[in-house]
Symmetry: C2
Subunit: 285 residues, 2 copies
């Protein structure tokens, strides 16, 4: 917990600092040691083509962990962090990045599930720091959490999710981060709408990063994914346009939104690093 | 609790039925009997010009109750319900209507606060039924909770708050209902935006009804009102336009939004009945 609080302080002072990535790796090594004490209880997956388990202390179970994505080894994690830090992705795939970052995020959240009761805030805040750190590292700049609204005789500030300012004649990035979206996700499109309205459409590119959409029934041990793709399409058509939505554990119902109308570009988070590095993400397509 | 569940069933089958108002009055009489057993502990009000107390069972305290608005007598309640039922407001003021309906709503919520722990859902659902009943009674029609989106080659349904269809060549009413708004209120404007986009601006008039914005610190017994008027102004300018926002315990910071730019028409809920009856609410101003 001390390591977590430290990371929070560091993110606030300099999200882009390389020490934060090192701290996240150290923290993950402790998380793996801790989780190694607990058995992995298989869950009954109602999600096609995905298997899940829970870390199980006997009295408590963690959230669902995707069996194919999770790795309990440090070595692949260290390779991925090394690639991100050096921005050299020649020997690494998007899938490897997604798997490594998924393992770190779900590992920490699982420790909180096993040690606290009903604590949703700590995993949520950790995941915000976690995603902010990697995005900040890739962009090479620190984010803000509010923007000024200067408008004729009005002057106020708008609290937002993370905002990255890439400089004059570059788009800015609006980065909401959520462990899961559920019914609250309309806020993401609504905030994007406000930014489009205040600053002009296209000035801010909306990029949502989410962990997963799984839900475990604690009695039956069944795992489902809660997805509302038709609602997302309505939001994308009638509220605002999100540039990208990235998942660490990508639901297939959302992935399929790439290929229908209105297309919503939903990808695994590993793709972000490659898209940004090869300049397709911010290209004027 | 049985009376509450019954009211829920009746609202779903015929929100407009006169039996529901009678049941709400009967329920309130039981609520007053129950609350009569408990002392009223004064709270330290940090809200200018408002005094609050909590019903106090010794081990539990209810939410904050506005001393000037709450009445423990049935007589004023019965007069108000009689006026609404007969749609005759000649001998009643908006303030009297607000006070009577406030007493009924906060009374039921206080009973739940004293008998359950951490139950936010029952007060919220009750308040939805409660507001829906009075609006339905005034409009003389029943609401729906979803609308169809038919759009070239797409066909889907959009879950919404209550929707009242006043018929051809009349506006329709979009009625979100919340016990308090806090940071989730952006959803109200976002839903209005979707309705404007799908059906055309002006087809749906957005009317939000809210109970109060008070928050009690359980240690210090201080009551504050949590208001974000500048955020509301940004939403009203850049997401969609709400036609009215009504409160049972109206915060002065929101009331003042009537008189600044952009004007947001925020009133006490009692005004709804008079505005609707004298046809100023739906006039084409």
């Amino acid at each position: 917990m001390n390591a977590y609080k430290n990371i929070g302080k560091m993110i606030k002072s300099d999200a882009n600092a390389s020490i934060i990535s090192e701290e996240l790796v150290n923290l993950h090594s402790k998380v793996l040691d801790y989780l190694g004490n607990y058995k992995q209880t298989p869950l009954i997956s109602k999600v096609p083509n995905k298997e899940y388990f829970s870390f199980d202390s006997g009295t408590k179970k963690s959230r669902a962990v995707n069996k194919a994505l999770f790795t309990a080894n440090m070595q692949p994690i260290e390779s991925v962090i090394q690639s991100i830090s050096s921005k050299d992705f020649t020997n690494i795939t998007a899938e490897e990045i997604t798997s490594a970052l998924y393992s770190m995020a779900i590992g920490f959240c699982s420790v909180i599930d096993l040690t606290k009761t009903g604590d949703q805030k700590t995993p949520g805040t950790f995941f915000e720091y976690f995603v902010c750190n990697w995005v900040s590292k890739m962009l090479g700049i620190n984010p803000r959490k509010q923007v000024d609204v200067l408008n004729l005789d009005m002057s106020t500030s708008l609290p937002t999710d993370y905002i990255f300012d890439l400089g004059t004649n570059q788009p800015k990035i609006h980065l909401p981060v959520k462990t899961s979206t559920r019914e609250r996700v309309i806020q993401v499109w609504a905030h994007q709408r406000v930014l489009d309205g205040v600053y002009g459409t296209g000035r801010f590119l909306g990029i949502l990063v989410s962990l997963s959409e799984t839900k475990v029934d604690q009695n039956s041990l069944e795992v489902v994914e809660i997805c509302l793709p038709e609602q997302w399409q309505i939001y994308q058509m009638f509220i605002a346009q999100m540039k990208r939505i990235y998942y660490l554990d990508l639901p297939s119902k959302y992935r399929d939104l790439r290929n229908v109308f209105p297309p919503i570009p939903v990808y695994s988070f590993g793709e972000f690093f490659l898209e940004y590095q090869n300049k397709t993400l911010l290209s004027r397509d």
